[in-house]
Assembly symmetry: C2
Homo-oligomer: 277 residues x 2
């Protein structure tokens, strides 16, 4: 049998959603030069569910001749031990951290099943988050400019500069109420801010992007159109960046950033506190 050491089976296992396991696993594996064949096992809270996983571990080991990597987070000790006795390399993503904290602060942990965010414990937080998502949806893409006084931040930029995904992420992850407004041709020729924005100046934040990257993104959407042409992209960006500078609106370039990175950098530059949900 030929063993391809450049490729490994990786399993994410949790008694909760396993989203945290995936996140941590991705960052850890991002440091190593091999391909991961990933599979996720959420809500492993019983022996029955663990049996399914153990079977897959055994199949992977037999098939590949090397142990799969398993990033896990489980509270029930028996399940954890059974997992660690199987033919895998197991990584408890929280275990050592919990131990270290206990040693440092001398307070005993009270183990509970993993819950990414709890609904019942804190209903206000639930409503805040839903309200932020709703507000942000209602104010996407300049649909309405009513209720700007409730906005935490107002994102400005040309079409396809990343406003919508950033707005939704900020609402979902940080519970912020985000307005986003696209500059379209009309605004560009007038090159001025809408009067509605005047009294909310302190909330304005610009997104810009490299012309080349914008062209690529627009071509992906409407190949061959004027809208996606190099000239149009360059013109729009130059006009809008001049506006940002003239009006002293802070802005960042989103070209090489993920949605998470854009959101976090905007928050930081705007001096907004994250509402940890």
């Amino acid at each position: 049998m030929k063993i391809d050491i450049q490729s490994r089976d990786v399993f994410y296992v949790s008694d909760g959603t396993a989203i945290t396991c995936e996140t941590i696993g991705h960052v850890v594996l991002g440091q190593f030069p091999f391909n991961a064949n990933e599979k996720t096992f959420p809500f492993v809270e019983s022996k029955e569910k663990l049996e399914d996983l153990l079977r897959e571990i055994e199949i992977s080991f037999i098939k590949n001749g090397v142990k799969p990597l398993v990033f896990f987070s489980m509270v029930i000790t028996e399940l954890k031990e059974a997992l660690l006795q199987s033919n895998c390399y197991g990584y408890d993503i929280l275990g050592s951290l919990v131990q270290q904290v206990e040693t440092d602060i001398q307070i005993a942990p009270v183990p509970q099943l993993q819950r990414s965010r709890s609904v019942s414990k804190d209903s206000d937080t639930y409503f805040d988050r839903i309200a932020a998502i709703e507000y942000t949806l209602a104010h996407d893409d300049g649909v309405t400019l009513k209720g700007l006084e409730k906005a935490d931040i107002i994102l400005l930029g040309v079409s396809r500069s990343g406003k919508t995904p950033t707005s939704l992420y900020m609402a979902m992850q940080f519970g912020l109420r985000v307005v986003n407004y696209p500059f379209i041709d009309d605004d560009l020729s007038r090159l001025r801010l809408l009067p509605e924005f005047e009294i909310h100046r302190h909330k304005l934040f610009g997104l810009t992007i490299d012309p080349q990257r914008l062209t690529e993104i627009r071509q992906n959407r409407l190949a061959g159109s004027d809208y996606a042409s190099n000239e149009q992209c360059l013109h729009e960006l130059q006009t809008v960046e001049a506006l940002f500078r003239r009006e002293a609106i802070p802005y960042i370039n989103t070209s090489s950033l993920s949605v998470e990175e854009i959101s976090t950098r905007v928050l930081e530059k705007a001096g907004l506190r994250r509402r940890l949900l």
Copy 2:
């Protein structure tokens, strides 16, 4: 000075967005019975930025008489060491995992700055994610039923059962194209599925919720309305759950679940593979 051991300063520090640090920190601290005063320091990539952090650590220690807890993730060794020499309890959220993996698989890591998701490395993934968000936004709340053949899943449920946040989360986190459709009075009296859904039966998934919880959520939105009355909520839910059973549509109760948990459970029950982004 009175020391309140039930409350601690907690800092999240990263050379990236620090979102992973926050997530891990929350889960770890969720196991301990004390209150955390949290603050996040993203993009700590330079000595200057580290100095700001070290100052805050010192202030916290002097003010509280106990060391703050610092969950961190940083690649640059000098920054890491300087942090660990300050008056804090430091927890490297990745360090020990990377070491363990290295030992197990005998491949040396290639450290790189933390990036939650990379844009430039993998442009297809970027476009997939944006396309999923756009599709999902366009198909929110029954706005259109065109293009259902491209949907990964179609969520059904009464108003306020959690469809919109769940749809957006699935798009954002897992890159899935989600349609969601609310049952409104018309459908309820007819109590049948729209013909448009017939050929997509295998994609249908129901969300339901306890009558009491639904009443609470609707009261929060429109207090005192018929819409938010106990009777109306109970009637809608009974009707819709009967439909789910009659039509053999799988469904889950969202009452005590977070958006992350709903999304993950739906994926699991629907047998959809997560697209890890």
